[in-house]
Symmetry: D2
Subunit: 133 residues, 4 copies
Amino acid sequence: MKTERIGVSIENSLLKQFDKSISYRGYKNRSEAIRDLIREDLCGRQITNPKVQAIATVILVYDHHATKLMQQLTALQHSHLLKTISSIHIHLAKHECMEVVVLRGRVAEINNIAEKMLSLKGVKLGRINLIPV
Amino acid sequence: MKTERIGVSIENSLLKQFDKSISYRGYKNRSEAIRDLIREDLCGRQITNPKVQAIATVILVYDHHATKLMQQLTALQHSHLLKTISSIHIHLAKHECMEVVVLRGRVAEINNIAEKMLSLKGVKLGRINLIPV
Amino acid sequence: MKTERIGVSIENSLLKQFDKSISYRGYKNRSEAIRDLIREDLCGRQITNPKVQAIATVILVYDHHATKLMQQLTALQHSHLLKTISSIHIHLAKHECMEVVVLRGRVAEINNIAEKMLSLKGVKLGRINLIPV
Amino acid sequence: MKTERIGVSIENSLLKQFDKSISYRGYKNRSEAIRDLIREDLCGRQITNPKVQAIATVILVYDHHATKLMQQLTALQHSHLLKTISSIHIHLAKHECMEVVVLRGRVAEINNIAEKMLSLKGVKLGRINLIPV
């Protein structure tokens, strides 16, 4: 991985604020923080393209007593076996579980599977995160 | 406004993607695009503080036939006269209007006024944008 | 505009929280609040389609001393005359202005014009809001 | 869990669009879809409160060759042992890994730990998702 060094002009006052903010968050240097901003920006633009290959992290909060929910979730993952990479299960409260399912595929496809999960009866909250690969 | 020139190390492949993306969007140089990313990042963090001074742009889509809505909207703006700067009215369709109201004040206060507007009967869609000043 | 009355089952605890939240924001009744949630949801999904007709509200914060910026902004609006509906100008601070420009057209087109505005030298912050029509 | 049945008035045209949208996403009935919108709305408002108890799902994409990164990530999780619940590791590409770390605690605390992870050298992309519990 080859690296280039570029020059960036920036107003003193803005630089001061930025330095303060990134040091508070734990950054050791500005280059790292600026690279992260650039990657984040590109990533946000890429995933608006439905054909781009991406990883989806689907976060589900559900009531594990909901009839058939767990079977349906498992079935949904198995019917898209090539797109489901892995999942993690967390016990939140007496009746509540959280499951994080990682999917891989084109943005449109994995969004579609993720929305099917979110719409299952018993799923109370859901989040879809897409990261282009 | 004094300006400083800083050096940023960045992988070739990332730089290439970034250059392509910003030139497509119309940027003439990288410094400008990177400064914009930095400002956007700081701005997003600042407006989570309810005490920060900000400008809110409240966008409302409403049916101007809704009983009393226009009077209520005007009354709401007048009762917060010092915080309402200006507004613009756009005729969208036969029954639909759009109004952009600009408010100034602390984040918590102007959010509160903005949410009162959004909750009025007849307001169909609303957006609140906060920019710290 | 014909209206239908539908029944919605909802857990007591969730309903209680929702009622508290919407009354705090100023809603007079639940139907209004639920309709707003539905419109917001549909609206967010529609504007991911680049071909949908929409209204864009572009918010720009800029330094009015920036060379040629105001001419460029005006030129950009005039060169897309049919898509620019209106604009509002607000004096923020000694050197800072805010301009809210309202554009109408297909999502892809108005996004494109809006990004050209945001990338102009001197524009410090920008926001694009899309509302389908 | 006791359930109530409420009545909601809604315009025919809006209801039609909503029904189409939710059936496309896989919902079996409207109540389920409306409850999900309500939960999502409440959840979004609650996590703006830094004191609320929440679960954070931190998604990290990183280069596993980055010097010391994996040790630092592990150390960070161990130094906040009570807040780190679980993590999942996914092999994305030759040099790239994805890690999903689940944290539990107050919004402010877990945001703070999450941002420390995101700012580590070698972490290329990061996402923080907060869900109130």
